[in-house]
């Protein structure tokens, strides 16, 4: 090995601080790439694979009432239907001990657990449900601490019964408890019969069609509905499933696209730091380059020496970032897959992400370093060795003179020098500022996005005038509901709303809804104060509206090119079919993936059409001085009251406004936490960048420092100059980042809102973020400058004047 490689090794080892900074700055970007790209790869492929493995039904036909096996089997006669599997799913209540409170649950029964055809449930532990034992869903087991052997008391129409849990089962399509999902239990025919569904009757059909296409599946859903209607059975709702693509994919893709972009920005910032670091190294070793050339080394020799150094940085960064990125990607994937009820216990990594990391760690820094290295290698021996005095690189342009005048006028001389020094190397200043500005803009933008999400949620929640919403699976008498509500001591106002599910048609064609779940018509009482949606076009309902007018979601209107004044036909099945005029559209916020698309219409008109006068499916209540606790207590009281009167509650949509807030925040937390993590990575990268930049300044001004010392500058003055330079650089980047963030945050928040929550966010610029970032940049500026500053203060006059 040529002795020159000793120099490479020496440079790396003796300058451990610089090596560590360079390696860490590359590693930060490579980590971000590895974690995000790895997560995306693992997440999407695992989600789809898990989905396909369950043999998903194309249609889930929810029956209004129930069908027997013969009628269920008759659906096979509908053209294109290749498979039908009946099942039962009901809402109920359970408790874990005689003295424990009743809790809501969803109870599921498959026709034959051992021979499932579609939407396969997986037995994770124990056994399938038996005559006297039942299973618990995996997420319920994890979130509510329900274990095999636990005794569960189920509420029964006659006598409540206790059943032990004998198995843990995975259901592929359950909402996560953190997002408001229910407890799920799995029971046998015998237990379902005890719960009031006679053996041999079913309230849901899982259906597959052939050849599958989304349009054909929807077409066949209509045919099945027609087939069942002819047999005197109505379809309550039809859910659609893509057989190859996991139902959560769209949501995840939106989030991950944003994260991927931010990860690439982090890598770009890291790469800029490599340029800065190599500029520092070359600057520091200009004289050595001169000597090497003077004794026979060529530009190629110089280029190779420094590229090898960068290669080592990259390899070390890869060694750090690869395991961290793989680990981070695995843990993040595991966490997110858990939300979708997918186990991910065996450590796995993405080959694509590892390849991307290796390229990011090795190739990107080499390419980035080429420019400073080639510039250094091209330097002539005379330039490298000769010295023609101090400075010479500042003070020529009008800008330099302006900075000089400002500094001399407003700052003590040493700090005026610090100000001038910032602008001495404008190329380097731009690079380090780019990193800091990118970090600052991202930080403010991320927090602005978070604030906008919060603002949007809060605005939406504020538009809801109720604290408690109680839903009933069957229609109840409005008067009874309101009378029961009147008994609540903290009641302010109550309204009973009728709702009906159905299909929306325009000119005979089915209108597409955003969730693919069908439509739900909400009958809004005249003068209602319970909901005042964000109207995007047309208008909201007024107390004078009593005709057949509707307000639909903006997304539904957009999907179907609906205009104000258009006529829509809403087919509510057995309860009626009528034409409605579209008068307005509203902005749906964070559409819940498990609910239908609400359509609002005046109660009088809906009841006219459906002939369901004095019937309600929802009770909305506003209480006095609501708090999370007071509304929870009120809801508990009301549930007990309804229970006494044998009025079942649909627990899936029954909740307080505080629970709705919590579930919504839980959904957003995943996105905001990941965004914040990237903002922190950017902050670290920015700090490293500034430190590198200041280190170069120290090297370049070694002789100047000597002169300052020779004429009486003490250590605090020298340290102060560099700290001042660091802080000024930080503040300068902040001054640019704030308006930049202000300009870019609005369109980006809008884009991110659309991508992540499919909503136009109510923009809220985070002024907190602006001031937090100012504090962060000042801290970064001080921290990044302390090491170079102390180094500068230790340079002796003799050393500094002998330099170069």
């Amino acid at each position: 090995m040529s002795v020159i490689w000793h120099k490479v090794w020496f440079d790396l080892w003796q300058r451990k601080g610089r090596t560590a900074l360079a390696v860490l700055s590359i590693a930060a970007g490579v980590f971000a790439i590895g974690m995000i790209f790895g997560m995306v790869d693992q997440l999407l492929s695992t989600m789809d694979a898990a989905h396909v493995a369950t043999r998903p039904a194309h249609l889930q036909v929810i029956i209004a009432g129930s069908v027997d096996e013969e009628l269920a089997d008759s659906v096979l006669r509908v053209e294109g239907v290749t498979g039908v599997e009946p099942m039962n799913l009901i809402s109920g209540r359970y408790k874990t001990g005689p003295d424990e409170p009743w809790l809501s649950t969803t109870i599921v029964m498959r026709q034959d657990y051992a021979n499932q055809q579609f939407d396969d449930y997986t037995l994770l532990a124990g056994d399938w449900p038996t005559r006297r034992e039942m299973g618990v869903e995996r997420l319920s087991h994890n979130s509510f601490g329900l274990n095999m052997g636990d005794e569960i008391i189920l509420e029964m129409p006659q006598t409540n019964r206790t059943y032990p849990l004998n198995g843990i089962i995975r259901h592929p399509f359950v909402p996560p408890p953190d997002f408001g999902g229910d407890t799920y239990f799995f029971v046998s025919h015998e237990i379902m019969a005890q719960l009031g569904v006679p053996r041999g009757r079913y309230n849901q059909l899982l259906v597959q069609v052939e050849p599958y296409s989304e349009a054909y599946a929807k077409d066949r859903a209509a045919a099945i509905k027609e087939h069942l209607n002819k047999q005197g059975t109505d379809v309550f709702l039809t859910l659609y499933q893509e057989p190859e693509t996991h139902w959560g994919r769209q949501l995840v893709e939106g989030v991950t696209l944003v994260l991927q972009v931010l990860a690439v920005v982090s890598l770009a910032a890291s790469v800029i730091l490599v340029i800065n670091t190599m500029t520092a190294v070359i600057t520091q070793q200009t004289d050595q380059i001169g000597v090497i050339k003077a004794i026979g080394g060529t530009s190629g020799t110089i280029t190779r020496i420094y590229l090898v150094g960068v290669l080592v940085y990259g390899v070390l960064a890869a060694l750090i970032a690869l395991p961290l990125g793989m680990g981070g990607a695995y843990l993040a994937s595991k966490e997110l897959l858990n939300i979708f009820n997918i186990d991910y216990e065996v450590f796995t990594y993405s080959n694509t992400a590892v390849s991307a990391q290796l390229a990011a760690a090795i190739i990107a820094p080499l390419l980035a370093a080429l420019w400073p290295i080639l510039s250094g290698a091209r330097i002539s021996v005379r330039e490298a060795i000769a010295s023609y005095g101090l400075g010479g690189d500042f003070g020529f342009s009008w800008f330099d003179r302006l900075i000089d005048r400002v500094g001399q006028r407003f700052l003590p001389t040493p700090y005026a020098i610090a100000l001038g020094n910032i602008f001495r190397r404008k190329g380097r200043l731009i690079l380090s500022q780019l990193v800091l500005i990118a970090a600052g803009t991202m930080f403010i933008m991320v927090l602005t996005l978070s604030a906008s999400l919060t603002n949007t949620l809060e605005n939406e929640l504020n538009r809801r005038g109720y604290d408690i919403r109680i839903a009933f699976p069957r229609g109840e008498r409005s008067e009874t509901l309101l009378n029961i509500a009147d008994g609540l001591s903290t009641l302010d106002t109550a309204e009973a709303w009728y709702t009906a599910t159905g299909t929306v048609l325009r000119e005979g064609q089915r209108v597409q809804d955003t969730a693919g779940l069908g439509a739900e018509l909400f009958a809004v009482p005249s003068g209602s104060t319970m909901y005042n949606p964000n109207i995007t076009r047309g208008r909201w309902l007024t107390p004078q509206d009593d005709g057949q007018v509707v307000v639909v979601s903006q997304d539904t209107a957009d999907f179907n090119n609906l205009e104000i004044g258009d006529t829509l036909t809403i087919d509510l099945g057995l309860v009626g079919k009528a034409n409605w005029i579209l008068i307005g559209t509203y902005q749906a916020v964070a559409p819940e993936p498990f609910t239908t698309d609400p359509i609002y219409a005046p109660a009088t008109a809906v009841l006219d059409v459906t002939k369901q006068a004095n019937t309600a499916r929802q009770l909305l209540l506003r209480t006095q001085n609501p708090t999370a606790d007071s509304t929870a207590v009120a809801l508990h009281e009301l549930r007990n009251e309804f229970e006494l009167r044998n009025m079942p509650i649909n627990m899936f949509v029954t909740r307080t406004i505080f629970e709705e807030r919590e579930y919504a925040y839980n959904q957003f937390a995943i996105v905001t936490n990941l965004l914040l993590l990237l903002a922190v990575v950017m902050g670290i990268v920015g700090g490293i960048g500034l430190m590198g930049s200041l280190s170069i300044s120290v090297v370049e001004r070694t002789r100047e420092i000597g002169v300052l010392r020779a004429i009486g500058a003490e250590t605090p003055t020298i340290v102060g100059m560099f700290v001042m330079e660091g802080v000024l650089q930080g503040v300068l980047s902040w001054l640019i980042a704030v308006p930049l963030a202000l300009l870019t945050a609005w369109p980006l928040a809008r884009l991110l809102g659309q991508v992540i929550v499919e909503t136009n966010l109510d923009f809220a610029f985070s002024y907190t973020a602006v001031f937090v970032w100012l504090a962060v940049t000042i801290i970064i500026g001080v921290m990044a400058s302390v090491v170079p500053a102390v180094g500068a203060s230790r340079i002796s006059v003799r050393e500094s004047l002998a330099y170069a």
């Binding site: 020159i4 050595q288 003077a294 004794i295 020799t301 021996v381």
Partner: protein, 243 residues
Amino acid sequence: MSESAPVVDVRHVVKRFAVGDEQITVLKDISFQVFPGEFVSIVGPSGNGKSTLLNMITGIDHPSEGEVIVTGQPVHTMSENELARWRGRHVGIIFQFFQMLPALSLVQNVVLPMDFVGELSRKEKHGRAMHLLEMVSLADQAHKLPSMVSGGQQQRAAIARALANDPPLIVADEPTGNLDSRTENSVFDIFEALIEQGKTMLMVTHSRSLAQRIPRMIEIRDGRISRDVQNDPALPALVADNR
């Protein structure tokens, strides 16, 4: 004058530098020749162009006008990389501030130019480097880093490095400028020994006593050769100490 081809042939060299908007002429029509085995000092007041002239000869800088032929090569026309390769084989340079690579030990510093030329095996390079260090009495310090030895020792190691590829021409820019008088003498003794071995040497110096010991002296004043004389060590010094 020797009848063999000159090692250094400087022909009507002019060197100008741009300082702000002005052009300053540092060397004004300099011509001289140095023949094999000659030991030449270049003297003169500070800022009169001595180091610039040396830079023209080593190819470190290019003349604005004129020609510089060194070891038969037209140095003024060569590219940076051609110059680097040429210097590695034909010129040994000794700097005032030693310019040892701080990352390499003394022996590694000496091996480095041989690495660039790439003609010897690793063992041969090491053997030659140790021989050269022994010649400058540094064999026992060979594996120390430059920062661990004195200035005089660094300069002697720099001489060893300059001789690594056995170049015919040694160029030294104030090689004793940073040394005390005792060390200065020991370094100068090495130079004299090199001349006896047939090397050609050019040395910029401020030292009157040293210049007096060098057979030929070229004095530069205001960018021109004011004197080019042969010294007779028996006569009083011709050079004023401009230090």
